[in-house]
Subunit: 470 residues, 2 copies
């Protein structure tokens, strides 16, 4: 990048907000995704929408790539600057502007940490359901850009179901708004929903208006241990067949259970094949009744054991342990690859079994956990990126996993996004016609292709990618 | 249209499926929207996706407008063939292909009547919440094309919240699919949500996969009579402030109450300013408790009277009466114009009062009812399209109503769509930048502009519009 451009950036933002030191560039050369890395030319920390507008207009005129980024917890390489350019660090937009208790909305900057936002709305008795695994680190803006999910998808949906309005900046610097605080609004095409999950490839989000719900009065947690994967899947199926919609139905296979138990010391049984962590929320009577019915169903299906968390604290500890799964697994080997294959709920057992068979076929270690209630599985491979032969088998295994998911009517990513990692699978999922449409939509927002190039549907430059030396 | 083209259409579809008689063309020259009319050149009734594909490819090559249409209950002129061309009547796609009780989805043709679909899913204990006022006549395809709302928006959302997957045909004849049965799916841009509410301007929908919920066990209905509009709005506000989310909170002003009562003989009080019709569903204990709390809140606010429906039948009769509001109002004068101004819930009282003042200012008769819970109001003007002076004042009044709604943070249409009627207001709502983006998106799907021209963001040909002689 020309020195003059860096100087112009310094004139737009605060003096400390343009970083070009080798350490900074290295720090922004990767996100939470293994095996991919590329350095930006500069990292910029804007503080206002006007600054974002001027930075974008400059980069658009100079045809410089812009990569919007929050905390970089992305698991699909979505924030890797594969073509260099400007990483736009949005973490200074970290204010909660309003919690509107009459309209049940919140208006926030994209840099607010998800868990901080949860605490703020819960402090006034309100509830923001999306709870991605990275919520203690991730930003709300990143969650919206990725349409992050979490453990409550079955009952409460995902991020897109809670985004009501946006302020965003187009590559040419135009500042626009869509949606707002109206529960019903059909004035033109739904640009809000289109921007949610667009992974920073269309525009930069500078303000978010989010839908809130009343905080459920209470919740209870049930643990179901199963002797087979099929039993676990049947419990999930029978609960749905009984017309019960739990807030959470998490699945852990034996491998994940052992690792989580070693990490969190929960005293989980070692001999069972899988466990389900089921949480229901709502009014006390309702929750009590649902949990009792779920326990009955689990016993009828032949669960090895059914345990009710004695206290809310016990329940919270179990959920925290589930959240620790990735951290726990990542201690075992140098490289942890967390994937995101998703199938219609009724195909869960087939998919889990397929992962077991595929791991054996390619001689790789894969533990599976995930959101059983919405068919969103996280087969997690424990490997070593320095072992090129093993990495090759890992890639073959995941290709087969994604192919299987699609054959079962599933998808290549339930909540992590396409980023770089899923680009090669996307055509199989949406077809060439779908790719063409998405590319045309991309062109409508970003005719010069400066927004997060090399992601989702825009051509990607592998020569910028090098494997991290760790 | 050239005779050869009509002949080619006859070769594509069934022999009885191409209509050109004056009576047919007249019948398809209007929908449920007053004041607008234009005749198509031909009406085609395809029966298969392959036929839709061939019809579109032909019309695209010949640059002939295509207007997809269900039952034509549209209230914004969305199905008026303002540029002539082919009306594509989709009512032969009237099959429910599958109700998947394990995944809680249904897959249907776009021509299925909404109320028939409700009955089919309720027969197996499932629930499809969107319930537009026209549901006994409207098609599901039309509901999806318009993102129809209804009385349950506050608690259950609108049509877009229930569309999981689509099969659709592009103008060039390509048959594509997006989404599916996965509760979580972030594989690329959200084309499903983009097509929902696109009003037939992007593609033709040929198959819909819809999300279902378990049927709530029970419901109760409460009627609250208020001495002022402000009291009614305060009851709504206080219920939300109490963190209660009723399934339905409908509002009727005095004028609407009188007309509905004359029509349905409910014995409603004549002297109150407004009424709220509140319904809660869920488990018996929960519903009982919520309804009691809502009644307490209403009394505390100073409601004139609070009545609990004695039986489910009484409750159903009240809801049916509310649904009859438009029919009842339309008996009074030759022309009834139902509008759709929507504001954030907390601005409800201001908006309702503004409608009263604006009606007086322009000496027009406007009754207001609507979905108070989500701020979606239907100011309904009783007029006579043959009285050009009055119609002019009606148009001035509605312009001021929409301007006021936008000043209050609201929108020009909550659930009826832009169609023809709201095109002139859309730039004020989304801005010139928003219009440009929407036009570019339209171009990405429909480069030749054959899909429902003259609607939403595509230039419209007034010379084709004539006032209906009734």
């Amino acid at each position: 990048m020309r020195v003059e451009v860096v100087e112009q950036l310094r004139e737009i933002v605060d003096s400390d907000a343009v970083r070009v030191s080798p350490n900074e560039l290295y720090a922004y050369s990767f996100d939470a995704t293994p095996l991919v890395q590329a350095e930006p030319d500069v990292v910029v920390f804007p503080s206002t929408t006007a600054q974002v507008s001027r930075v974008l207009a400059l980069c658009n005129a100079e045809r410089i790539p812009v990569i919007p980024r929050g905390s970089g917890t992305n698991l699909a390489g979505g924030t890797i600057p594969v073509a260099g350019g400007v990483v736009l660090n949005m973490t200074r937009f970290n204010q909660i502007y309003e919690i509107d208790e009459k309209n049940l909305t919140a208006t926030v900057g994209p840099g607010v940490i998800t868990a901080d936002f949860h605490r703020a709305v819960e402090a006034v008795g309100l509830f923001y359901p999306p709870d991605p695994g990275s919520m203690r680190v991730s930003t709300i803006g990143g969650n919206v850009a990725q349409c992050a999910g979490g453990m409550r998808g079955l009952k409460y949906g995902v991020t897109k179901d809670y985004v009501m309005g946006l302020e965003y900046v187009l590559p040419d610097g135009q500042v626009l708004r869509c949606g707002g605080k109206n529960y019903k609004d059909v004035a033109g095409y739904d640009l809000t929903r289109l921007l949610v999950g667009s992974e920073g490839t269309l525009a930069v989000l500078t303000e978010l208006t989010l839908k809130l719900l009343p905080m459920p009065e209470t919740k209870m947690t049930l643990t179901v241990f199963c002797n087979s994967l099929v039993d676990a899947a049947r419990v999930v199926e029978e609960v749905i067949a009984a017309r019960i919609t739990p807030a959470t139905m998490e699945f852990l296979d034996q491998g994940t259970m052992h690792v989580v138990d070693d990490f969190a010391h929960l005293g989980l049984p070692r001999d069972v094949a899988a466990m389900l962590l089921i949480e229901q929320d709502g009014s006390p009577v309702q929750v009590q009744r649902d949990i009792e019915r779920i326990a009955e169903i689990a016993r009828a299906v032949g669960a090895a054991d059914v345990q009710l968390a004695e206290t809310p604290e016990d329940g919270a500890r179990l959920m925290a342990a589930r959240r620790s799964a990735l951290a726990a697994l990542s201690r075992l080997r140098p490289t942890t690859i967390l994937e995101d294959a998703t199938v219609p709920r009724a195909r869960l057992a087939e998919m889990v079994q397929a992962v077991v068979d595929i791991a054996a076929k390619y001689r790789v270690q894969i533990c599976t956990f995930g959101h059983a209630g919405d068919g969103n599985l996280h087969p997690t491979c424990l490997t070593d990126e320095r072992d090129t032969d093993e990495i090759h088998r890992v890639e073959q295994a995941f290709e087969e996993i994604f192919r299987t998911a699609m054959e079962l009517g599933g998808t290549i990513t339930g909540e992590h996004g396409v980023g770089m990692s899923k680009m090669k699978y996307l055509p199989q999922r949406v077809g060439p016609g779908g790719i063409q449409l998405m590319q045309a939509i991309k062109g409508a927002f970003d005719p010069n292709g400066i927004m997060n190039p090399g992601k989702v549907v825009a051509g990607y430059q592998p020569q910028r990618v090098v494997v991290r030396q760790s």
